[in-house]
């Protein structure tokens, strides 16, 4: 029979005996990490400092689009971008107040309000972290905390690959997809054809969102953007209005050679218990 008590650290044994913990030097962190995430952030050499949040309740303006016209709804695009940016910047301010090196696991949520279709809530939540040894080489652009939507596990993996996160970058485009005219619809009856106007609308909207995200990454001085996701959605808008939203983590190579981890080579496995 194994005896775990021989290998346990002192503070763990004391607590399990029912004694008060003595290892604490004041200060307690909060986070929305899972246990695995917490372990991996620690493994990466970082400490969680606290859960940080930013919120923005936003009234979106009104814009009318031509019924049969493909066009960007620039008022809404701006609204969706500005409100997210406001929520994010408030979250970053909180992290800065904690002297954090960065924020990981950032979630950006958009919530509708039942009582007003023009009012949306934008929420940014993440966990502020700091390098345990206080290495200065992990800050984001302009010496501010970096931001990333990568989980603790992915954050570790990113550092292993020799890169560090800079900023959560995003691009938004709200687009009105043209309605098809009566003659066009009749002409398509019984035929398999592409609907070029719809294709163009999707293409254009997607391209605008990605382009904006890429520009933002460029401005932050990034070499690349990882974990990019493209979301499509409607937030209480009329039919034919959709948002393309591109989001990812801008990264650059770790500059200080001394802290680049050794190369990890993934091992190929076949589970035998499937």
């Amino acid at each position: 029979m194994g005896d775990i008590t021989e290998t346990l650290p002192q503070h763990a044994i004391e607590r399990l005996k029912g004694l008060r913990d003595t290892s604490r030097q004041g200060g307690i962190f909060t986070s929305d990490f899972s246990v695995n995430e917490f372990l991996m952030v620690g493994e990466a050499g970082f400490e969680p400092l606290g859960l940080v949040i930013g919120s923005c309740i936003y009234h979106t303006g009104i814009q009318y689009a031509g019924w049969a016209k493909n066009q960007e709804m620039s008022v809404l695009s701006q609204a969706m971008y500005e409100a997210r940016e406001l929520a994010m910047s408030r979250m970053e301010q909180e992290a800065q107040a904690l002297s954090a090196d960065g924020i990981v696991g950032v979630r950006l949520e958009v919530k509708r309000m039942d009582w007003d279709k023009d009012i949306l809530e934008f929420l940014a939540v993440g966990t502020a972290i700091a390098h345990s040894a206080g290495h200065p080489g992990f800050k984001g652009p302009d010496g501010k905390p970096f931001t990333s939507d990568l989980s603790g596990q992915d954050f570790w993996m990113l550092l292993q690959s020799g890169y560090r996160p800079l900023a959560l970058v995003m691009g938004s485009c709200v687009y009105h997809v043209a309605h098809q005219g009566m003659f066009q619809s009749l002409g398509n009856l019984g035929r398999n054809v592409e609907m070029p106007l719809f294709t163009q609308a999707m293409y254009d909207a997607r391209e605008l969102a990605m382009e904006r995200m890429q520009t933002e990454a460029q401005e932050s001085g990034a070499e690349g953007v990882v974990a990019v996701a493209l979301h499509e959605g409607s937030h209480n808008w009329q039919p034919h209005v959709i948002e393309f939203f591109a989001i990812g983590t801008a990264v650059k190579p770790i500059e200080d050679k001394a802290i680049i981890p050794e190369r990890l080579i993934p091992q190929i496995v076949i589970p035998v218990n499937d």
Partner: protein, 297 residues
């Protein structure tokens, strides 16, 4: 077996006695005598041990010396007199304290596999009361003396063992719950009834303050227990309440509830996890996309 036949004539008397014992125990913050007896008999081996673990969980008793003692539980059916939000704080804590009491009677070092459950009275449509219940398996770790202040963990015995090896002890459940009202005057309403993009700043600030206060409470609650909090549940709501005869102005109600596991850790005694990245080739589709998974716990 005449389990049901035995003592039928005195059934009413027994029920009454049990109810009385329960009422007394609850009002004094103790465990009823018949529960105490059962737990004592379980501990002495007169009754079999009880565990919520699957057979794999029993591995932990051989590999790590973590032995199950018994199922412990606590509940609190709570009426929200003045606040639904604060009710969550009080209801959960009362239930958790009761579970801890049972576990302490067993001399458990920890309670693992703790689950949290709420229950509403079906069909009454009554929203102003509900039951908060927690249950888990009390365990004893070989080589350690009895504890009167058991640690609480929401993970299974095996995972608990792995966490201990990583220098982390999950100790309890921390809760932060806060709500507040905002009275919107005509000025702030008129501002947002417009055709252009703008932030409703008063409302943003209000909601942010409510959330921050709830998180501050979560941290304060966790400070009693450990050195860190891994919050798994976050819930916030914003309601708009129209003016009525008592309230001439439009009002907003915001609330935020955060629940997390409190842990004790010492970052100075951190050990490397020796992680190996692996590529799983058992799945043909995965082989194409090269999905890299991690072995952590």
């Amino acid at each position: 077996m005449s389990l049901f036949g035995k003592g039928k004539s005195s059934e009413d008397g027994v029920t009454e006695a049990r109810q009385q014992a329960l009422a007394e125990a609850l009002s004094h913050g103790t465990v009823p005598s018949f529960v105490k007896t059962r737990l004592a008999e379980t501990l002495s081996g007169k009754r079999p041990w009880v565990s919520t673990a699957m057979p794999s969980g029993l591995l932990a008793s051989r590999s790590h010396g973590i032995r199950p003692l018994g199922l412990v539980s606590g509940n609190c059916w709570f009426h929200f007199g003045y606040s639904w939000t604060r009710g969550h704080y009080e209801g959960w804590h009362t239930a958790i304290d009761r579970l801890r009491l049972e576990a302490a009677l067993l001399g458990a070092n920890a309670v693992v596999d703790v689950t949290m459950q709420v229950k509403h009275m079906e069909g009454t449509g009554n929203e102003d009361h509900m039951d908060y219940a927690v249950r888990g398996t009390a365990v004893r770790i070989d080589g350690l003396p009895e504890s009167s202040n058991p640690a609480l963990a929401t993970v299974s015995a095996l995972e608990f063992a792995r966490l201990l090896e990583a220098g982390i002890v999950p100790v309890g459940i921390a809760i932060g719950a806060h709500y507040d009202w905002l009275v919107a005057n005509q000025f702030s309403q008129g501002m947002v009834a417009s055709y252009w993009n703008q932030e409703w700043e008063a409302l943003s600030n209000f909601l942010t303050q409510v959330r921050r206060q709830a998180l501050r409470e979560l941290r304060d609650d966790g400070t009693r227990l450990g050195s860190g909090i891994l919050a798994h549940t976050q819930h916030s709501e914003l309601y708009r309440i129209e003016p009525d005869e008592n309230n001439p102005y439009l009002r907003f109600l915001a609330r935020h509830i955060a629940i997390g596991t409190a842990i004790i850790h010492d970052s100075r005694s951190r050990r490397s996890l020796c992680i190996r990245p692996v590529i799983n080739v058992s799945d043909a589709i995965r082989l194409a996309t090269t999905d890299t998974t991690l072995e952590v716990l």
